[in-house]
């Protein structure tokens, strides 16, 4: 019981979950538009590196964040060009993006900063203190002192829910993921809406990457994302392609990660705890307990007729 009452556990849960939530929201926008996006890993990684590089060079973490997000967006545009315009296989191109990001960031890290890694004088994004919340039991410390990007999550989540289900744009995006022919027959450009979904996934993955490098830390190391992009993908699937679901799944997966870290040194095997998110996702897609349903046209390239 004391294990669950430990504020550190909950603080860690929030820290681990935040990038997952951002990235899984991004993946959700992409897939709601019908584009399977496993490239979030690479977009995150690229942004994590670029954020540090620009934050250090400009002595301003905000400029770092902006540059990181821009790099995530740029990766997503490359992804969109190949998958939408050239109709390349979305999974394979996603893998290529991930490899490119892994190689480029690792290479530039070494080439620019050498052995010592990114400079310790790199600024990081500010942490806000909300003293009102600090008196809450157990969860207080986790919520009262968080990085600005954690608080930014609240409007982002609300905005995502609103944009996807309340705006014309959201309706159109979802129609492209369900049945692009219907959108097309309503006179809409399938590629344009799919592109907007992919671009959003790049931007949100960019924020997630920046959070890892200049949010919780102020440094970058090789393969820093370490598969978080894939866990975010899993969270999005487990959350049934919905903002609330992505949030809940990311929190569950984040909690499991945090718990496994807390459990290190104890008798409970932490690695087994880390297996749970993956197995849960497999169970969910197989429909063994409560089947999740992807958008009907998810992953299917669309050829815009040249009428």
């Amino acid at each position: 019981m004391s294990f669950f009452l430990n504020p550190e556990l909950w603080a860690l849960t929030v820290t681990v979950s935040v990038p997952l939530i951002y990235a899984s929201l991004g993946g959700m926008f992409s897939e709601r538009g019908g584009v399977v996006n496993i490239a979030m890993e690479g977009m995150m990684l690229m942004s994590a590196f670029v954020s540090v590089a620009f934050a250090y060079a400009s002595h301003n973490a905000w400029i770092g964040l902006l540059a990181g997000v821009a790099s995530g967006a740029a990766m997503s545009l490359l992804f969109a060009w190949a998958t939408l315009k050239l109709q390349a296989d979305q999974v394979v191109v996603g893998m290529a993006i991930n490899l490119l990001a892994l190689g480029l960031t690792g290479y530039f890290l070494d080439a620019f900063y050498g052995y010592n890694g990114t400079p310790i004088s790199t600024p990081s994004l500010p942490t806000w203190h909300l003293n009102v919340l600090s008196h809450l039991p157990v969860l207080g410390p986790a919520l009262a002192q968080e990085n600005v990007l954690t608080y930014l999550l609240i409007p982002t989540l609300l905005g995502a829910q609103y944009a996807l289900f309340r705006t014309p744009w959201g309706l159109r995006l979802r129609s492209m993921g369900e049945k692009p022919e219907a959108g097309r027959s309503a006179g809409l450009s399938v590629l344009r809406y799919r592109l907007s979904g992919v671009l959003l996934s790049g931007i949100l993955s960019g924020i997630a990457g920046a959070y890892l490098s200049i949010g919780v830390l102020n440094s970058f190391n090789v393969d820093m994302t370490a598969g978080r992009g894939y866990i975010a993908l899993a969270a999005m699937i487990f959350g049934n392609w919905k903002p609330k679901g992505a949030l809940m799944a990311s929190l569950i997966f984040g909690f499991l990660s945090a718990a496994s870290i807390q459990l290190q040194g104890s008798i409970i095997p932490s690695d087994i705890v880390l297996m749970v998110p993956y197995l849960l996702t497999v169970v969910a897609v197989a429909g063994i307990v409560g089947r999740t349903t992807p958008p009907a046209a998810d992953g299917i390239p669309y050829q815009e007729e040249s009428l």
Partner: protein, 363 residues
Amino acid sequence: MKKWALSALKPLLTVVLGLIVSGLIGQLTGYPASAVMSALWLGSVGTVTNFASTLVIFIPLSLTALGIAIAFRAGLFNIGAEGQYWMGAIAATWVGAMGGAWPPGVHLLAVILAAIVAGGLYAMIPGLLKAYRGAHEVITTMMLSYAAVEFGHYLIEKGPLMLPGAIPESPAIAQSATLPILVPTTELSAGIFLALGAILIAAWLMTRTRLGFEITLLGKNPKATRLAGVSAPKLTVISMVIAGAFAGLAGGVQISGVSHQLMDSFANQYGFTAIVVALLARNNPWGIIPSAFLFAALQSGAGYMQMNANIPAQMAYVIQGAIVFMVAADRMFDWAWIRFRKGRWGQMPPSETPAIAHEEVSL
């Protein structure tokens, strides 16, 4: 004729372009392209030792790539071959380190068989889920792959394969379970014959057997396959099991021939690089020989480059990524060609199957 020549040239072209990209990046960051290229060359095939280390990487890459290629032939994207590779390695380590007195050769055989069976069984899960529950194999194999890695970590950190000490690792396998080393002072083992043998078997399976014929059918046209009286679900499971068996074998050979114990670094992301190998080989078992060799050379050359020329080894991933990208988006060559011919930014040509073609059928 022209078109045929172009399609044969594409893989070669992608490799050359990938190298050019890396040379450019090197040049821009202060490492002359010539230094990059010569280090890569020297580090991969320049000396007997380096050549041997290229072959050492060739073994797991080619074996895992076979597992991916066969699944691809059946229309399945086994993106999580890494997990089957881990499971093979885990089984091999367990059998190799279980002790007991084994007649000569039998222990080695048991290790290899255990790896094959473990990989095959692990791949059977996504196969079954795909065949009978419709779960997409990209997601299930990927998730199961991460789960397998975590499981491996557990075994060597706190589980039954843990060797007490600070570093998470398993006990070493018995001498009787190791593959003989071919070139002294290198890690090149008789595993190379297993790899070449496996390629031979895979090629035979795919081109000479009825099962291979059925797998190809399934990948090309599941509907017509069903109408020919073949059970598609059963075949889906079988294809995944075979694919996993090859990936598992790769893990077993790596344990038995190179690392001799399970530890975190033994996998080295071979499972993912192998996807690239299979793609470049266009899922042809014979094509895997040059393709796996190329990427093995790239990896071993990159390691050498880092050590001797101080050029970051991550360059290898950049080249790989660029190659995968170009292989996947191979329409970019047509796109570029049209731009080049027109000399201006025009519209993409309509695809081979314009909307009008469908009208004709539904008339």
